[in-house]
Symmetry: C2
């Protein structure tokens, strides 16, 4: 059987430990092509570059990978450039990450990692975004290795329902071993921003966006709950954003 | 009765004709606060600014508006800054747009206009994104005025289901009058990118992202169909991205 063709991308940039581990695991499964941002693109959401030019550089970071490219654009730009300009055929799988920081619950919406996976999904490519709840690049990602491989292999074997990609988040691994995998829904949570207001040397105010994560969703079937309990959360994510249940309500309006 | 407090934002920047018309209409309905980007932020999706500082300038573009602010960030940053730093209380409505260019079907995902509305929705604020299918800032937006007012007033009167914001798109108006309003689902469509490859003065390749819109969804209930037929499309949009129908499928996997 032909080895699967796997596109690897992320949002933390091509040199982050998360993508390097993801590449190592994917090499065991298939032929790997890497197209990833040349600089950190966290929280870029589904942004694309339309008012600026895009650049691609062939790089050699892993002696075993022939096709690795560093790109000036966002994670979504990377997927578009890979599919249209770099890859000879549609890949069998696209994996994004491993992100340094959680993309569970509402974070999925801000996440460049997940937006890359969603973009691949729009192209009809089975896609998975992987993220670890710890932000630090120093975090030991070794305990994730077997799970990343297992989930990727299962997606290659079974495929994904049309219009669905996977949002996989890993719990803290520094205190206890991972307990297993749970399929979940996205928790109803949000960020309460606390802007840090400062004065620049010219006397003008400016802000840093900071905030605290607030989860008021007490459901037992959420990704937040699974992660708290030491499980890996797997949320099927769709890009048909239509609130189908609300169509009837609106049809009763006087529009 | 107290006049409603209305937050107005967009992604084309605070000086675009679309937001100026939106402000004019909202002044008829309530007390308006404007917080909008100081430069075009199209296709920024749900990006937020975490690796850079944010600046706000109080501006005076409309003699009747006391609170108008130009912001260095993305549309989502504008909503966050408005809610946490500028507004004295939670607004009764957030309107975003009127965008110059369609945000129907898959465009909802790339759209800064809609991401601002979604961000307001996450905050529990009833929110509407308005867009016109024409990209040109020269387009006559006058025919939209009555419809914008009607839809905004209806949302203020009825509220929106929890977790739902509205994506309103206006059809071409240069050939025939608007036929009315249709509540729709998001069409399954996508962009087929065609990267325009060029050589810079130093001999290095670079790309412009261009593309052609492909709609293979023949459904009669889609936003694309409504717009083609000369109707305004109204799609209820949700930010719970969980593909609930896929959870059972994944639970049958060997994870």
């Amino acid at each position: 059987m032909e080895r699967p063709l796997i596109l690897v991308t992320n949002d933390d940039s091509i040199v982050s430990p998360g993508i390097r581990l993801l590449i190592e695991v994917m090499k065991e499964i298939g032929d790997v092509v890497v197209v990833a941002p040349d600089s950190p693109q966290s929280a870029m959401g589904h942004a694309i570059t339309i008012n600026n030019t895009l650049h691609i550089d062939k790089v050699k970071l892993d002696p075993e990978i022939e096709h690795e490219y560093s790109c000036s654009g966002t994670p979504v730009d990377c997927v578009k450039l890979a599919v249209r300009e770099i890859l000879k055929r549609k890949p069998d799988l696209c994996v994004s990450g491993i992100n340094h920081g959680s993309n569970s619950s509402i974070n999925v919406i801000y996440s460049g990692t997940m937006s890359a996976a969603v973009e691949a999904g729009i192209e009809g490519i089975p896609a998975i975004g992987f993220s670890h709840v710890e932000y630090s690049w120093e975090t030991d990602l070794e305990p994730l290795r077997g799970y990343v491989k297992k989930i990727a292999e299962e997606v290659l074997l079974k495929g994904l329902p049309e219009g669905v990609v996977l949002n996989v988040n890993f719990p803290k691994t520094n205190k206890a071993p991972i307990k297993g995998i749970k399929v979940c829904r996205q928790a109803k949570a949000m960020w309460m921003e606390e802007f840090d207001k400062r004065i620049n040397p010219q006397g003008k105010e400016y802000y840093w966006l900071t905030g605290k994560f607030v989860n008021q969703d007490k459901g037992h079937d959420t990704d937040e709950r699974a992660l708290e309990e030491g499980y890996i959360s797997v949320v099927p994510v769709q890009f048909d954003l239509t609130a189908h249940h609300a169509i009837q309500t609106l049809n009763n309006w006087n529009l």
